[in-house]
Symmetry: C2
Subunit: 118 residues, 2 copies
């Protein structure tokens, strides 16, 4: 089935799309950036960079270190990060519903060509 | 103001996003791929590749050579290409309206950081 990718872009060009949203969701469920990266088959450095870019894009951090006891080092979504993720997911679902007929239309006419994606 | 980027992705991974939609619109208004590329500050080769990838993504061409008389060589959107563009534009507008409150929310919290966009 065809699907929709949705990206929110701020004035300064910072982006929140499916990749960062999935990473936020994964940090929320796993409680750490490294576990989130692992669960997404992403290297830690890339996950860290994505989260750093999100944190820099806003006046409020979206992810912060959790109060670690011994062997801490986890990460959690801040209330702002949770709201960002919730808004993105709600909007993505609503837009996908809005797009149902259009997605059907393009899939009906789509070939199975898997040439270069540009 | 923050804005929304919307990309439709077929089963096989072919994409129609803001760039291809703008190119289709430009071919439609200029009547040629080279004029469309020029008006977008894009080199001809890239414009051609984008249109070729669109044409390969579907069983029906979206853009074809216009019946050129002497010195022809123009390009036009097929009815399918026009429908594709109309659907994309309508969906983009409807999704942007749906996203108004979310776009306001992210812009309110956005910094003017123009660091690397990832």
């Amino acid at each position: 089935m065809a699907h929709l990718r949705l990206t929110l872009v701020t004035n300064s060009g910072a982006r929140i799309g499916p990749g960062k949203a999935a990473l936020l969701a994964s940090v929320h469920s796993t409680g750490s950036i490294s576990a989130a990266a692992r669960s997404m088959g992403m290297d830690y450095k890339r996950a860290w960079l994505l989260i750093d870019s999100l944190n820099r894009a806003f006046h409020i951090a979206a992810v912060e270190g959790s109060a670690g006891g011994t062997g801490g080092g986890g990460a959690i979504l801040t209330p702002f990060g949770q709201q960002l993720l919730e808004r993105y997911c709600r909007l993505q679902a609503a837009a996908a519903e809005l797009a149902t007929a259009d997605l059907d239309f393009i899939q009906q006419h789509a070939t199975s060509d898997t040439g270069p994606k540009i």
